[in-house]
Amino acid sequence: MVAFVVLTVPLFTWAVYILLFSVLTAMAISSCLPLRQVFKRAFLIEVPLVLILIPLPFLNQTAPLKALDWWGITLHISWSELLRVGVLMLRSWLIIFSMVLFTLTTPAGELLTSLSDLHVPAVLVTVISLMWRYLALFVDDSQKMVAARELRSVPARRGKAGRFAQNIKSAGSILGSLFIQAYDQSERIYQAMQLRGFDGTLRSWKKEPLQNAQKLQMLALLMVGILFIMGAYGIDGK
């Protein structure tokens, strides 16, 4: 719903963004989630997007321009583009915030069931399910390897930079080793699936169809979203 609203309202509808932020924060607080951790996670997920958006004010030369002198290099930055990028970051962060909130408050099993109910292709649901199931195992394994590395590490004599380089090097070995483990495990999982009849087609346990109450909840949520959008267009005066 948040993504639907954020992507539909006009770009500079600050009131809607503030309202959405307030609603999401209230939901996080009422769910007893540690706000700092939730924000931190949402910001971390936002980082790759920020890296993609940062060059835009320098590349898209829409007036008014401002010249910036950095170490003898003159860069022209577009203020209007900077503002647009800022709003895009805010919009994407709100969507990420809602996703983080959703994943922290919804058990993975229900999430996968919901995807099936929404007719997401079975192959996609299975891939997500397997990723979710085994990611935690690989995180465990990688943590064990990192711990083993720490226990065997000679105290750094080459300063922080040398230690960083050493860590990067061993991280490569750890990743390589994890890849091989993951590959081997995928073979064994496939064997286990074959033994229980897997024939290349995906079949799953179909639960009861959506209840009327659930359909009503979805409808109510959709109505709230539409109200937000209508309000936003009203605020914008269009």
Binding site: Y134, I189, Q191, A192, M193, L195, G197, F198, W205
Partner: protein, 241 residues
Amino acid sequence: MENEQVAVIAVKDLHFAYADAAEILSGISFSIKAGEKVAIAGPNGAGKTTLLLNLTGLLPGSGQVTVNGMRLEKKNFPAIRQSVGLVFQSPDDQLFSSRVFEDVAYGLIYQGMGKEEIALRTQQALEEVGMASFEQAVPYHLSLGQKKRVAIATVLSMRPAVILFDEPTMGLDARAKKQFLQIARTLSQTVLVATHDMRLAAALCSRLLILDEGHLVYDGPLQSALQDTALLERHGLDRDW
């Protein structure tokens, strides 16, 4: 009693080698009667797991393997895999679903059973291993012992004639080992256990096969083998383990 004389597994001159590697199984021959509980022991790399994978057709060896009266060939795989269940060494290889229920029901769904039958059999299988209250649990959150029991339930739900266990007590504490033994003893199926744990073998099985470097070096009563310390030592086994 008559049924107990029928060989459910018959292996004749089985050879297997991985690509570009030495032979792992060299001319293995044996047969197992219905209802027998047999231990397969041997040092690391002896070929125990490879033998189990060959018995299910997951690895293609040369030789003649008959399971439940069917020759082990591609056209018979669905029927054979319905009658032979394999419990893997690591339960994480076997529990790949997001809920315990889905894992136990997986094989039944592929057998095309109705929802009621699936629910009933899944519940029964979980009850047999004492995990009935964990139907909606996430496999990752279970202890190793609990995962092992659920892995057994994934096989029991399919009601196979033969159950193969690969190192079933590996990594388990004393209580979990005891629980496994209790479950395994109640099984009416033919059971093959690949293990290093000679105490487990002695508590569960009456017959022992010893594999070493791909050869079947002993096939006989387990108690006789346990008395033969030299035989056990020669093949990397120890009855006090």
